[in-house]
């Protein structure tokens, strides 16, 4: 193969992205176009803003899960951590403590999330236990502890500082179909995404996460402090879950220990659809973001199409399996393709 003829496949490879982000973007676009043709009500600024609004919390959760999945694990306890941290914080603020303000409230919640993350990280890194089992276990523990020690009451009146944010918009655009509002809390979600993308790409910590997900033993031999990195991953994931929980509570203007139940599937589906490998070592913030938006667009489309909500969950389940299926097929293809590639490449280099 000559250099010139290599250029086109190479460029295609670049467009497709390391984790098929390009493919995902095309699918997303196609879906949006199809929905807009089928239902003109779909292609409006209010719909776009409302999809963005509904993506905020899933995106924050998904970013935490993404990090865990890249490191070769899986986290199903993030929703429990989110509820635990947010509900406990709201209870604490209510029960007499002076209003800590928004910053104080977040600081408290994040601290709680981080502490719960330490428990996950410690169990996983120290005893080398399977991550699915550990997080399934801690999920139950966190939920139980919350109900037993913190309370089970539904709280409808948030502290003033929190309630105020829930009605703040970043900006407002009036369109012929009505006013469109973009919620202020997209800002932290976007910042987190950009921040995590930077950490994963440009810090040694981020690269260590990929290395550990690729081969733990090789990482250990390369001098990467595997235990420390793993604990840090779960602490950050816990912190992000707590942030997501707080934002969820603020946007819903109420708190209850029953929220977010069962949202794990959507999030993991989004991350896997976004090209993260369930075997670890692969995944990107861009892909995850596209995956989250894709899932939200699909939910929205299904609602517009009048599909009953029970079936919506089925759809996400199907999506998850499609996502994993594509990965499996693609990896089988590429291992076959590489044999053939080599056949040609080797000719280039006369021995």
């Amino acid at each position: 193969m000559s250099g010139a003829s290599l250029a086109i496949p190479d460029r295609l490879r670049l467009l497709r992205g390391a984790n098929n982000e390009g493919v995902l973007a095309v699918v997303l676009l196609a879906l949006i176009v199809a929905m807009s043709i089928a239902n003109p009500a779909f292609f409006t600024l209010p719909t776009a803003f409302s999809i963005l609004r509904s993506s905020i919390v899933p995106l924050i959760f998904a970013l935490g899960v993404l990090m865990v999945i890249i490191s070769g694990g899986i986290d199903v306890s993030f929703a429990a951590i989110a509820v635990f941290a947010a509900y406990t914080t709201v209870r604490a603020l209510q029960s007499g403590t002076p209003d800590l303000g928004l910053i104080g409230a977040f600081a408290l919640a994040l601290l709680i999330g981080a502490s719960l993350g330490v428990i996950n990280g410690f169990l996983i890194a120290k005893f080398r236990l399977p991550t699915l089992i550990v997080t399934l276990g801690t999920q139950g523990i966190f939920k139980g502890a919350l109900l037993t020690y913190v309370g089970s009451r539904y709280i409808a009146d948030l502290p003033a500082s929190m309630a105020q944010v829930s009605t703040t918009n970043l900006f407002e655009v009036s369109t012929p179909t009505g006013s469109a509002y973009l919620h202020i809390l997209v800002v932290p979600a976007v910042l987190l995404a950009i921040g995590l993308a930077w950490v994963l790409r440009s810090t040694m910590f981020g690269r260590s996460i990929y290395a550990i997900g690729g081969d733990v033993e090789a990482a250990r031999r390369a001098g990467i402090r595997v235990m420390r990195t793993q604990v840090a991953v779960y602490v950050i994931a816990g912190t992000m879950a707590a942030a997501g929980g707080m934002i969820y509570v603020i946007m819903g203007r109420s708190a209850s220990p029953q929220i977010l139940v069962g949202s794990e599937l959507d999030i993991i589906a989004a991350v896997v659809l976004g090209g993260a490998s369930i075997f670890g070592g692969r995944g990107s913030v861009l892909g995850t973001t596209l995956g989250v938006i894709l899932v939200q667009v699909i939910y929205n489309s299904l609602i517009l199409a009048g599909v009953p909500s029970a079936w919506q969950r089925t759809a996400v389940g199907v999506l998850l399996i499609i996502g994993v299926g594509i990965q499996a097929v693609a990896s089988r293809r590429s291992s076959r393709a590489s044999v053939i590639d080599e056949t040609y490449q080797k000719q280039e280099v006369p021995a």
């Binding site: 193969m1 790409r201 440009s202 810090t203 040694m204 910590f205 981020g206 690269r207 260590s208 990929y210 290395a211 997900g213 690729g214 081969d215 033993e217 090789a218 990482a219 250990r220 031999r221 390369a222 001098g223 990467i224 402090r225 490998s277 670890g280 070592g281 692969r282 590429s334 291992s335 076959r336 590489s338 044999v339 053939i340 590639d341 080599e342 056949t343 040609y344 080797k346 000719q347 280039e348 280099v349 006369p350 021995a351």
Partner: protein
């Protein structure tokens, strides 16, 4: 007083004292002591499973010894950890490479040194020049942006070598670094080894290729069953002596081939097989009971021809006949159905279930060959096959229930061979069947191939190793630029002739 009088012998860069290491009941190292001087290459030799890799892992901190100590730079460690080892300038090329399959070649090359420097930030763009420099220095054609999992074994090995060379090592340990390399690549590596030596770097080199060992090393330490039996200047040793120390037996590399009955039937026939750009017009026959050698430089197309016969690489012209009937070879399944087996080059990563037992791995490929009349698994036959092969291939393990992960590199390879023999294919192709196998066992494996051939199998051995081809092959094909350029027979099957034709 002259300055030379002041200098005593140079002090060692690395000392290993009384290392003991056991795995469960198995003693891998039993009181091993060594020292490594600056500017020397010390070779570690010994049979498969004698503890070479374990010793290396202990020096690099990948394993903890039961007792003993490691002294680097005057610091004594009762057990090393990887960070300290790298900081003290110890770099290792592991037998299993220990690369990150999901990262690019460039990142694999630079990541370890970035970790050791305790850097906080990483820049992919800044990593490239450093990686490129070392790749150029070795004169390689590695695609720096390819993910390592997509590379061939040879390229993976080269990546591991580049990674070890990229930082300024004071001790460089190479655990069988040349198993997948061509002569040119080995020569280039040796030029670099000489250069490092003149800079005062101490090198430990492990290889089962004794000519390499004697060419590159100043001293040789021989381990047998976890004990250091001899350490001697290389000049005082020859392959025979090394083999004797390693195994306690004389080494036999003479030619033994059975007389082929001129009437024995042709089991495999290729007519003008080709794939544009890869190999062309390949025609040959293989008879029942024959051992046919295929040789050529890496990249000559010899592996592709074998893979085409196994349905992995396609062909766009020509016919393959098995027992006289044309067969379709579009997939591995087609090949297996036609009775063709293939032991691939990349045995350490292909086709072994590392966490399963030796027994499960041996039988994994051949449940259909071990059924009763009623189609159920014939447990007695299964047991016999497993025990028979385990004993015949002399796999070094406590029993057949041991997981493959706990085996030494050479022993894991024997399990792959056992797995294919259990299948009893009519035609068996082996790519480098004795790479990474110690010289004693090499003779045994060749013996097994001769016995299988005598029992009626047609065997194709793809190999670089001229003495090995001479020792067992009836005929040898030489492949160059994708074509069979020579078929050596009879007295032409000689080491010098083969080397000459390959290099021509």
């Amino acid at each position: 007083m002259t300055s030379t009088a002041l200098k005593g012998p140079p002090s060692p860069v690395l000392e290993v004292r009384n290392i003991v290491k056991t795995f469960g009941g198995v003693t891998a190292l039993n009181d091993v002591s060594l020292d490594l001087l600056p500017g020397e290459v010390l070779c570690l030799a010994g049979e498969n499973g004698c503890g070479k890799s374990t010793l290396i892992k202990i020096i690099s901190g990948a394993e903890k010894p039961d007792s003993g100590e490691i002294i680097v730079d005057g610091n004594t460690y009762s057990s090393m950890d990887p960070t300290n080892a790298i900081k003290s300038g110890i770099q290792v090329i592991y037998q299993d490479f220990s690369l990150f399959p999901n990262l690019t070649v460039a990142e694999n090359i630079v990541l370890t040194s970035a970790v050791a420097d305790r850097r906080r930030l990483y820049s992919g763009r800044a990593a490239r020049p450093a990686a490129q420099a070392i790749v150029d220095e070795l004169g390689l054609h590695l695609d720096l942006d390819a993910d390592v999992e997509r590379l061939s074994v040879a390229d993976k090995q080269l990546t591991a070598i580049c990674r070890a060379l990229v930082s300024d090592a004071r001790v460089l340990i190479m655990d069988e670094p040349t198993t997948a390399l061509t002569h040119t690549e080995v020569d280039r590596l040796f030029v670099i080894v000489e250069r490092l030596r003149s800079r005062g770097v101490g090198l430990i080199f492990v290889s089962h290729k004794l000519d390499e060992v004697l060419k590159i090393s100043q001293r040789v330490a021989i381990l047998r069953s976890g004990k250091n039996v001899v350490t001697s200047p290389a000049a005082m040793l020859d392959p025979r002596a090394i083999a004797l120390h390693m195994t306690g037996q004389e080494l036999d590399e003479t030619r033994h081939v059975s007389d082929l009955d001129a009437r024995s039937e042709v089991v495999l026939e290729l007519e003008g097989l080709g794939l544009r750009g890869a190999y062309e017009d390949v025609s040959f026959t293989l008879r029942r009971g024959e051992i046919l050698g295929v040789t050529g430089l890496l990249g000559s197309g010899r592996t592709e021809i074998a893979e085409a016969l196994f349905g992995v690489v396609p062909h766009d012209s020509g016919v393959v006949k098995v027992n006289g009937t044309p067969v379709r070879l579009h997939s591995i399944n087609d090949a297996i159905e036609a009775g063709i087996g293939y032991v691939p080059e990349d045995r350490l990563t292909q086709g072994l279930f590392m966490d399963k037992s030796i027994a499960d791995n041996i039988i994994a490929g051949s449940p259909n060959e071990h059924t009763t009349r009623f189609g159920t698994l014939d447990l007695r036959a299964v047991r016999e096959t497993i025990q028979g092969l385990f004993a015949r291939l002399r796999v070094k393990a406590p029993n057949v229930q041991a997981p493959v992960r706990s085996l030494s590199g050479g022993n894991a390879q024997r399990v792959v061979l056992a797995k294919w023999l259990a299948r009893r294919p009519r035609i068996l192709m082996l790519n480098g069947p004795t790479v990474g196998v110690d010289i004693g066992s090499k003779a045994e494996i060749l013996g097994i191939l001769r016995a299988e051939a005598a029992a009626g199998m047609g065997i194709i051995v793809i190999s670089d190793d001229a003495p090995e081809l001479v020792a067992c092959c009836h005929r040898v094909l030489v492949v160059r630029h994708g074509r069979v350029v020579e078929i050596l027979e009879g007295d032409d099957v000689a080491v010098d002739t083969i080397r000459e034709k390959v290099a021509a």
